[in-house]
């Protein structure tokens, strides 16, 4: 049945899934821009400046879309999750407030210099501004991951009359899952961005455009991914251990484990049947589950049947999302390793290989999305794991209101962000054309973030 709570969950999932793509992209791009500008400062050759300005335009669009969709997020907690705001606002509110004050401040101050100060400040000041924007995106990630991780593994609080009172902020912020989930998210953002950088470069190479620049950036993306994806796999494994320790019901859902057992297999694929509490069409690798999940040969993994029926998360979404995320992770690793090998043999630019890059451009973002679905759906039925239920968190709203808002968000987001994507594609079509040199001071100075892309498009 459609309840206001269920519709609110759908709405939150929809707006936050849309939103996270843009911050993930701008986290990666900001650091990429800092790298490009550093190389330019050392080498002082035009291609690096051209690349900087090209990716700066992309960044401006991604950042703008993130800002617009982010404002919606800052109100959702109150409009749809009044119960959660009242109970946990004491803890979550200060974390979000610090995000606004520390990250928005840095970004707002230095984004202007970064985007429009090219002819007004020195090289070093400009580079400093780029670094501060990159730092701002990372600080923002810090606070958001602290807030979300606290909801996964709450700590440092006292519960009185159903309200959370913080008593140790260090424990609140550095809660048990935070130290693993923060790097997992940051690396995910970096990998997603590197996939776009490499894929777009491969696309230019296929078309025979910007060959020198694209060859350089493809190799950079390739080398970066070959190093970082293995690190991400290790961090992901640590995250799995952490979930095994702190959120056993989520782990059982991810792995579709129904009975508590030792020597559990690793289920590569299955059709989890929640009615029968069994897996159909399962493809299992014996014992590998225990080894991966517990790092011991005979480790015990809890099954869903150990939890009361009203404390079990849904199985299908975490189970499949997790497999998509991990599958894409290994596919990206494969792409990078094949690339390293071909690079050595000097056959990097074979068309089929470049086409594989183009096809895989979105895979990082899909992995980020599915990863978040694992984390958030796997946390159910809790909003604050083990303490507060999602059903207690929603606002007392009439069904019609939430239905109206959900329909509005779907229509508006598809329209607006469709236009934004169209615009990004247009920018990619234009490519890293020669950027303006500093000496020539034309009458026009782009005035704000999203106006930067303009000069390239209307050539």
């Amino acid at each position: 049945m459609l309840t206001a709570e269920f519709l609110s969950r759908l709405q939150f999932a929809f707006v936050v899934s849309f939103h996270i793509l843009f911050p993930a992209f701008s986290i990666g791009l900001a650091s990429w821009l800092a790298f490009l500008e550093a190389v330019w400062l050392v080498r002082r050759t035009d291609p690096w400046r051209d690349l900087y300005f090209f990716w700066l335009k992309i960044f401006a669009v991604a950042f703008g879309m993130g800002v617009v969709s982010g404002i919606v997020m800052s109100f959702q907690f109150g409009t749809n999750w009044a119960g959660f705001s009242e109970a946990a606002g004491n803890v979550i509110g200060p974390l979000l407030n610090y995000e606004v004050l520390t990250a928005f401040f840095l970004e707002a101050t230095f984004l202007g210099v970064m985007l429009f100060g090219w002819r007004k400040v020195s090289d070093r000041t400009h580079f400093f501004a780029t670094c501060m924007v990159a730092l701002g995106t990372l600080i923002s990630t810090f606070w958001i991951m602290a807030a979300n991780s606290w909801m996964q593994t709450p700590a440092g609080y006292a519960l009185r009359d159903g309200v959370f009172y913080p008593d140790d902020w260090m424990k609140v912020i550095f809660n048990p899952s935070f130290p693993v989930r923060l790097p997992h998210m940051v690396l995910g953002a970096f990998i997603s961005t590197a996939m776009v950088i490499g894929g777009v470069s491969a696309w230019y190479l296929l078309k025979g455009r910007f060959a020198d620049k694209s060859r350089a950036t493809l190799k950079l993306a390739l080398a970066f991914l070959a190093i970082v994806i293995p690190v991400q796999i290790v961090v992901g494994d640590m995250s799995g251990l952490e979930v095994h320790r702190n959120q056993p019901a989520k782990l059982a859902a991810i792995e579709a484990r129904w009975e508590t057992r030792r020597d559990v297999p690793l289920t590569l694929f299955a059709w989890p049947d929640e009615q029968a509490q069994a897996n159909r069409y399962a493809i299992d690798v014996p014992r590998l589950g225990s080894i991966i999940l517990t790092h011991s040969l005979h480790g015990e993994v809890k099954g869903l049947q150990d939890f009361p029926a009203d404390q079990r998360p849904p199985v299908a979404i975490p189970f499949f999302s997790f497999r998509i995320m991990v599958g894409l992770g290994f596919a990206m690793l494969g792409l990078a390793l094949i690339g390293l090998w071909r690079w050595r043999r000097g056959t990097l630019e074979k068309p089929w290989y470049l086409r594989a890059w183009v096809v895989m451009i979105p895979s990082g973002f899909v992995a980020v999305l599915t990863g978040w679905w694992v984390a958030e759906v796997g946390r159910q039925p809790w909003v604050v794991y083990g303490v507060m239920r999602t059903s207690e968190a929603s606002s007392p709203l009439p069904v019609g209101s939430v239905m109206a808002s959900l329909a509005t968000f779907v229509v508006v987001y598809l329209g607006i962000f469709g236009a934004g994507l169209y615009y990004l594609v247009k920018l990619f079509r234009t490519g890293p054309v020669p950027a303006p040199v500093r000496e020539a001071a034309p009458h026009q100075t782009p005035a704000r973030p999203l106006s930067v892309p303009q000069d390239a498009i209307e050539e």
Partner: protein, 336 residues
């Protein structure tokens, strides 16, 4: 005095300050959108938008600060206000999305240029109207919901809230017009000069209607104003409002360029102070006081430590960026 007594007062002023900053700064930008149909042609419309182009993003950030600040310092107020005013908040958010992206896309579009111009205008009008409705509903009073009950979708609706919605549209338009007097020359400035006095009359009329209808509201805002000789202490507020109005009128007649904007800001500031004085010590009239709605000192104190350093830094940046873009906007500035 105890922290639990003092901190909510401090936070009441911090959030009041943040909301005030938002209303003043985004107010004139939304005003530009409200007034955009008065431009003779697309070129003038570009010019109007470009006066605010470098700073509107930063202006809107104050709204996020207000929202996050309310959640951190007064979670019960945040939960009650946002959930009971669900549809007006939704309208505001959607309108702000259209206003924001229209600001950006309009300059890249060719065939759909008129569409983004329309989105800019309608988005600005609806965002202003929604904010006025939210203000009106808040002043009218939002009673806490008895347990187990559900907000009505249109509980917030009242003729008063609709009236304040229209009032805020006029008020932002006044801010926008005086901003244009400051930042432009020639035809656009002339249009702004012509609009300022009628808009000011409308704003003053609305201020009088709001003041006159306060006794009829559930929140009993007038009590503070008229009990125990308070009116004497508070009389500078309406007096200064009258002075501001007269000065604004005269400055337009004498074709002053900076003064109208300053006096328009003054009118808004005084109106805001009048409401804040009336609402005090509630954060959500009629029943939720700042102490009842407050988060504990461990939360409010934790954020206050950071805010004490960071808010001045944000202000310093805002001043800096306004200084960078000070003066008249050149005819060909912008993107073309």
């Amino acid at each position: 005095m105890e922290l639990a007594t003092v901190l909510p007062v401090v936070w009441y002023f911090i959030i009041g300050f943040g909301v005030m900053m938002y209303v003043l700064l985004d107010g004139f930008v939304l005003g530009l959108g409200i007034l955009s149909p008065f431009a003779d042609d697309e070129h003038q419309r570009d010019h109007m938008m470009n006066t605010a182009a470098p700073i509107w993003d930063g202006n809107e950030t104050w709204l996020v600060l207000g929202g996050a600040g309310l959640l951190a310092a007064f979670p019960r107020a945040y939960a009650l206000v946002l959930s009971s005013l669900y549809l007006p908040i939704l309208l505001m958010l959607i309108a702000l999305i259209f206003r924001g992206v229209a600001f950006e896309f309009r300059f890249k579009a060719h065939t759909s240029r008129w569409l983004w111009g329309l989105a800019f205008h309608v988005g600005s009008v609806l965002a202003a109207f929604a904010q006025g409705v939210i203000l009106g509903a808040l002043v009218d009073g939002i009673a806490p919901l008895p347990p187990g009950q559900v907000h009505g979708a249109f509980d917030w609706f009242s003729p008063f809230a609709v009236m304040t919605g229209v009032a805020v549209v006029c008020g932002y338009a006044l801010l926008g017009a005086t901003w244009l007097i400051l930042k432009t020359e020639g035809r656009v400035q002339q249009i702004a000069f012509d609009l300022t006095r009628p808009l000011m009359v409308a704003v003053i009329v609305f201020m009088l209607i709001v003041s006159a209808s306060l006794p009829t509201l559930h929140s009993a805002l007038m009590h503070r104003w008229f009990t125990g000789g308070n009116f004497l202490y508070l009389s500078p507020v309406p007096l200064l409002t009258a002075v501001c109005a007269v000065m604004l009128w005269r400055s337009v007649i004498h074709r002053r360029e900076a003064q109208p904007f300053v006096y328009a800001l003054g009118l808004f500031l005084l109106g805001f102070i009048g409401l804040v004085v009336g609402i005090w010590p509630n954060i959500v009239p009629p029943a939720l006081s700042i102490w009842a709605a407050a988060s504990p000192p461990s939360s409010q104190g934790f954020v206050l430590v950071g805010a004490a350093f960071l808010i001045p830094a944000v202000l310093a940046y805002t001043v800096y960026s306004y200084r960078v873009f000070r003066g008249k906007l050149a005819g060909d500035a912008g993107y073309h």
